[in-house]
């Protein structure tokens, strides 16, 4: 290839120019395209190095799942979770911590790298390394004066970590022990919720006084305002899996000036429900519940939870009621489905502001109904009627089988399906087509008594439906008596 010297020189000059431009712009390119590690290695003194460290810290922190924790916050009348699902282990978080510490060692701890320190402090906190977290929160606080970017989070988190220390010269306002199966739980979050307050803030780090249990599972709150408080506990799902929050004599603790109030929180082993479970389909007219015996239990009672799903099958809620009044002394209970289906309790009719009518499904179809989806639970009581435990605990272990079951759809009437779809007017027509079907008449009576529109129902017509039932049960007879009494009234 022949080329003049001039052309060659021109080409080389262009190349050098391009190289220079490329080289000088490379840090910016690397920074803005996420090559933080390359930037820090090749251009450690670039103006982009410090922002790159923060960016890298954020990226690493993000890998642990932002909030990084998956605590469940449980208090006697409520419950919340800070993060629903997180697979980050302590070791994985430790790997991120090591990486961030290395970055700080390499590039120094300055106001520009305070974000790294803050993220690192939180990681230490989620790993329950309180000393390291406290050290870093203090370090970051030095820069807080010039910046408010960490705001409430820094203030609250550092206060939580610092509050774990006992103050020997002071009387705690509230103190107690957190135990699981009788064993003290160290490093658990404990917080106080004002019993008078309405609503609840989740996660509770920012809105409630919070502290951490010591090695003996003890917690202490100092300088609390007098009043009644719920004591909440923050634990990891794996800690509470298979346990149940034990009932206490008092749901709240009263804080008084100058004196220490005591309140312990205990988690008892969950009473184990055996069958039905895992989505068993109940065929025939008998359902047998089986559970494991519970130490000290005098009798057991069964509860049923109806699962409500939207049209897409997504869980939208549930209702729980006592299945029967019966007190079972053994560990099995066999019940007749038709009796449970006929057991219709007083469910209400709800009318929203648009005039849409909604009935309580169990109030119409009975405790258990064909095609329904349910979870059952059992509670153990001692001879004094004190609840010892319940199967309604935390099914969060890998091998936990939800006590979920379905009733076969074989006996389901067209009207039942329409009730579940909240198409009450069509349900009335469908049930009328069933003729003298006792179950259809029972639901018809209920719908007619209350009315399927905004307007009141027709108790007289409801009574007529009830009178057609061939085998009336106690509930039917009581309803007839009530309606007749109302009819007789002027």
């Amino acid at each position: 290839m022949r080329i003049t010297v001039r052309t060659l020189a021109g080409m080389l000059a262009t190349l050098v120019l391009l190289f220079w431009i490329g080289y000088s712009q490379l840090p910016s390119f690397l920074y803005h395209n996420g090559y933080q590690e390359a930037l820090l290695k090749w251009f450690p003194k670039s103006e982009y190095a410090k922002p790159a460290i923060n960016s890298l810290a954020y990226e690493l922190y993000d890998q642990t799942g932002f909030d990084g924790d998956s605590y469940m916050f449980i208090y006697p009348v409520g419950w919340s979770s800070s993060n629903s699902s997180n697979t980050v282990s302590i070791e994985q978080r430790k790997a991120v911590i090591d990486k961030l510490e290395e970055l700080l060692d390499r590039y120094g701890r300055t106001p520009q790298t305070a974000d790294v320190s803050f993220h690192l402090a939180k990681l230490y906190m989620w790993n329950k390394d309180w000393d390291q977290a406290e050290r870093l929160y203090k370090e970051v606080k030095q820069y807080q004066e010039s910046s408010d970017r960490w705001g409430l989070e820094l203030e609250k988190f550092s206060a939580i970590v610092e509050s774990r220390k006992m103050q020997p010269d002071k009387t705690p306002s509230v103190e107690g022990v957190i135990r699981i199966d009788g064993n003290p739980v160290a490093d658990a979050f404990v917080y106080l919720v004002d019993a008078e307050s309405n609503g609840y803030h989740s996660p509770p780090y920012y809105d409630y006084p919070m502290t951490i249990t010591d090695e003996q599972g003890r917690y202490r709150f100092y300088d609390q305002e007098p009043g009644d408080y719920y004591v909440g506990v923050g634990l990891l799902p794996e800690q509470v899996a298979g346990y149940h929050l034990a009932q206490t004599a008092e749901k709240t603790v009263s804080v008084e000036k100058e004196t220490a109030s005591h309140y312990n929180v205990d988690f008892a082993p969950q009473l184990k429900a055996i069958s039905p479970a895992s989505g068993d389909v109940i065929e025939g007219n008998e359902i047998t519940f089986q559970w494991e015996p519970y130490a000290g239990a005098d009798y057991y009672q069964l509860y049923i939870t109806t699962i409500l799903r939207d049209e897409g099958g997504k869980y939208v809620g549930s209702t729980t009621t006592l299945l029967t009044d019966q007190k079972h002394t053994g560990t099995t209970a066999s019940l007749k489905l038709d009796e449970l289906t006929a057991r219709v309790y007083e469910g209400g009719k709800y009318v929203d502001e648009k005039g849409n009518v909604e009935f309580d499904t169990q109030g119409l179809l009975g405790m258990l109904y064909p095609g329904g989806e349910f979870i059952w639970s059992v509670e153990a009581y001692d001879s004094g009627g004190r609840k010892l435990s319940s199967s309604a605990g935390y099914y969060l272990g890998e091998d936990a089988l939800a006590p979920l079951f379905r009733i076969s759809e074989k006996e389901r009437l067209e009207g039942d399906r329409l009730i579940l779809e909240k198409r009450y007017k069509e349900a009335v027509i469908a049930y009328e087509r069933e003729g003298d079907n006792d179950r259809a008449l029972r639901v018809l009576a209920k719908l007619t008594e209350h009315g399927v529109t905004e307007a009141d129902g027709d108790p007289e017509k409801a009574l007529a439906y009830l009178k057609r039932i061939k085998k009336p049960n106690a509930g039917d007879l009581a309803a007839m008596e009530r309606l007749q009494a109302e009819h007789r009234e002027p």
Partner: protein, 111 residues
């Protein structure tokens, strides 16, 4: 003299006449000489170099390879995910019957 000689003589004459138009004039000859002198005095910048094709190919390959190598190096330096991939959101369901993961309830139902 033979007839052939005269014949050749005429042929040569005719040939010269026909070639007259293509012959360099004195002016043209001078121009060629001047140009030849100028060429011999060509500047450094206008000198021609012969670069072997393999060298050109190597230079081009290097031009492409260097940024590619740099990009690969930069990518390889990036932090590998230190943690396991997070599971898709799995809601916790709290009910009167206990606390479950939503997937657990759906899974049980699918069985």
């Amino acid at each position: 003299m033979s007839n052939d000689f005269w014949k050749d003589e005429r042929l040569g004459e005719r040939l010269r006449e026909e070639m007259n138009e293509t012959l360099f004039s004195e002016k043209m000859k001078k121009a060629v000489v001047v140009r030849a002198r100028e060429t011999s005095k060509r500047s450094f910048w206008t000198r021609e170099l012969t670069i072997p094709i393999p060298v050109v190919a190597l230079a081009l390959a290097a031009l492409i390879a260097v940024p590619l190598f740099g990009w690969r190096q930069a990518a390889s330096l990036e932090t590998k995910p230190l943690t396991a991939e997070r599971q898709p959101e799995d809601r916790l369901i709290v009910s009167g019957a206990g606390v479950f993961y939503e997937s657990q309830l759906n899974k049980e139902e699918e069985r």
